[in-house]
């Protein structure tokens, strides 16, 4: 674990030319709010009822605490890291492939869990999750988590859910009689190499893949090979949730790895879209609300972290984004999420999800793994047809 950390440390400093600030002691007590709070978040994570009046967990917080919330949405984990490196934010909803980089880069500060009463209501599986806890020190509070599901068009699949990720990785004829060529998508982020590895883990056991984020040269090459084959099927890689929904509506895309968020969005528009949890398992994300090392509004930030763990907010976010709450109590009695919501979003599949984390060369499961920056340049090559 220490070597893991050392690599993370070095990995993380790269974007920042500014001198890293010295990690501070966590706050001792929550005082009066500073009147403002700025958050870097995934699209759909911080809603104030602008899209749908029912989904609003900001307005009430603002009136109660006097902290005016401003949100900067980021499309990728890397964007989040660079935004935090840039500074000027209090909080970030970082996924596992960003959180450790932020910690190692001293961009975020330890938090005092004693100041967050709802901490003890957290799902035990998440309380000490390795993506926000380093040497027993907590660098944030879990927000929500979820799987990267397989989204598909019910017309193209004749109402029958595809069982395997095979439909997006290998050329085949779909139930509607047409080839899947040009009708599937893949994620336009290097972390998607892990999805290929996950598929290989199930279908090519001889490679000996244990963890899709820890790949040796051979395993990595096999994953890239699979992705090169996939390139021939994919017209455009998806990068942005909203553009993906457009593609499913206007570009004739019928299957892709996706977030429940897009599924919900499309279903709300009465599109013929459904999602499934393929047999290979899925990759997924678990996000943590982390506090910037130089946060200008730490009191408001603590108030928000507490607010974000309330069962109501957890349930509402989960319903809106298609995620799973970090507070088990949220699964029951939330009007928006409904009592079946957690099950739909894969709450019980926790163990089957390989959560995003940054690939590093000194990996735990085997001696030497291919580090992230190679994933980046090679994935660019794959998309470019190399």
């Amino acid at each position: 674990m220490t070597s893991f950390l050392k690599t993370c440390t070095t990995l993380s400093v790269f974007l920042s030319f500014t001198t890293a600030s010295i990690a501070q002691e966590p706050l001792k007590a929550v005082g009066a709010g500073e009147g403002a709070l700025s958050i870097v978040a995934w699209a759909g994570y911080i809603e104030r009822g602008e899209t749908d009046k029912n989904y609003d967990w900001v307005t009430k917080f603002e009136t109660e605490t006097g902290c005016k919330v401003s949100v900067k949405t980021a499309a990728t984990s890397d964007e989040m890291v660079s935004l935090m490196n840039e500074g000027g934010f209090d909080l970030v909803t970082a996924s596992g492939d960003a959180s450790l980089r932020l910690i190692a880069g001293k961009r975020v500060q330890p938090i005092n869990t004693a100041l967050i009463p709802s901490w003890k209501t957290l799902d035990e599986r998440l309380q000490n999750a390795p993506w926000h806890t380093v040497k027993g020190v907590h660098y944030g509070v879990p927000y929500v988590w979820g799987p990267n599901v397989l989204m598909y068009n019910t017309d193209a699949f004749k109402g029958e859910a595809p069982k395997s990720w095979k439909v997006v990785f290998e050329e085949m004829t779909l139930p509607d009689g047409k080839s899947n060529k040009g009708r599937v998508q893949a994620y336009d982020g290097p972390i998607y190499v892990a999805d290929a590895a996950l598929y290989l883990k199930a279908h090519k056991p001889e490679l000996g893949i244990k963890d899709p984020y820890e790949l040796n040269e051979d395993q990595y090459k096999a994953a890239l090979e699979l992705l090169r084959g996939q390139r021939k099927l994919v017209g455009r890689y998806w990068h942005d949730a909203m553009i993906q929904t457009d593609d499913f509506k206007n570009e004739g895309v019928v299957a892709s790895g996706s977030w429940p968020f897009q599924v919900n969005l499309l279903q709300a528009e009465k599109a013929k879209i459904a999602s499934t949890f393929p047999e290979e398992g899925t990759t997924g994300w678990a996000d943590t609300t982390m506090l910037h090392a130089d946060a200008a509004h730490p009191n408001c930030a603590y108030k928000w972290m507490e607010h974000s763990l309330s069962a109501k907010v957890q349930g509402d976010v989960s319903a809106w984004f298609g995620a799973n709450p970090s507070v088990p109590a949220a699964c029951k009695g939330n009007a928006l999420l409904t009592d079946e919501g957690c099950a739909t979003n894969g709450y019980d599949n926790f163990a089957k999800i390989s959560f995003w984390k940054t690939p590093i060369s000194k990996c735990e499961s085997q001696g030497e793994c291919v580090p992230y920056h190679r994933w980046v340049s090679d994935y660019i090559g794959v998309i470019g047809g190399r």
Binding site: A75, E86, D240, K249, N250
Partner: protein
């Protein structure tokens, strides 16, 4: 041969020119149509219905106004800076001969001749090196850099056409340097500066790429549009804003045309 110099063009030329202009305008008509669509999240063709609703929605969106005001601020200051720097450089280059004159004109053209992303990244890394926090001024710094060229081009063209003896005549008649500047130089280059200034303003107002790198978290109108288009809340609002911007800028473009028509074309002074 004669037909070539007479005022009538051949039919193929007319068709080619007309088709070219149509090609330039059809997508813009589409923007107009989609400002009225009833569909909210994404666009589908043909639009399911038409409504005027989005205009009032746009009017009541505070973020539109914030972005607009930031854009106007940035564009105004960047234009003012470009006017100052561009005129000075143009005056120096066209009124005197000195070693390195060529280098100056290259230097002025460079920010526009090199892709915006390079200007953007270079400035961004310089900001981090110098530990300059992102602010209104970092955006202005970026915009000012590439706006100088349009003012410079317009001013140089005008200086070139303004006889150098006018300045000497003025001084000969008893006007000192400042009087000459006020009574002779300024009135003679004013329309060129106005036209250059308006182009600079437009350039800054629509700039996305450099702003992405120098803006930090602030959203100018184009950045706001980018965010809206990628993560739509009410997509037609973006089109409404675009339509309004086109309509509002129509008059200044026309004004710039008539101001410079007789004296000099403002052509060729793009991004």
């Amino acid at each position: 041969m004669r037909s070539d110099t007479e005022a009538t063009a051949s039919l193929p030329l007319k068709i080619a020119a007309g088709a070219g202009i149509a090609f330039l305008h059809l997508p813009i008509l589409l923007i107009f149509v989609y400002a009225f669509t009833t569909e909210e999240k994404s666009f589908q063709w043909p639009p399911p219905g038409l409504t005027l609703n989005w205009f009032s929605v746009a009017w009541n969106r505070p973020d539109v106004w914030q972005a607009l005001s930031l854009s106007v601020k940035v564009a105004s200051v960047a234009t003012a800076i470009a006017l100052l720097l561009g005129t000075l450089a143009a005056a120096a280059v066209s009124q005197t001969r000195f070693f390195g004159r060529e280098a100056i004109s290259l230097l002025v053209i460079l920010p526009i001749a090199l892709p915006g992303i390079i200007t953007g990244i270079a400035l961004r890394s310089a900001f981090s090196l110098a530990d300059i926090p992102y602010s209104l001024w970092t955006i202005i710094l970026g915009h000012g850099t590439f706006c100088v060229v349009v003012v410079y081009n317009n001013a140089v063209a005008r200086f070139r056409r303004t006889s150098g003896s006018l300045i000497e005549a003025s001084m000969d008649l008893g006007a000192d340097g400042f009087q000459t500047f006020r009574h002779i130089i300024l009135p003679n280059i004013a329309t060129a500066l106005l036209a250059g200034g308006m182009l600079a303003f437009a350039l800054s107002f629509d700039e996305v790429i450099v702003t992405t790198f120098t803006g930090g978290q602030q959203a100018t109108l184009p950045i706001w549009m980018l965010q809206e288009l990628i993560r739509p809340r009410q997509r037609p609002v973006t089109n409404v804003v675009a339509v309004v911007v086109v309509l509002v800028t129509f008059l200044p473009i026309l004004a710039a045309y008539y101001l410079t028509r007789d004296t000099d074309e403002i052509a060729g002074s793009g991004k």
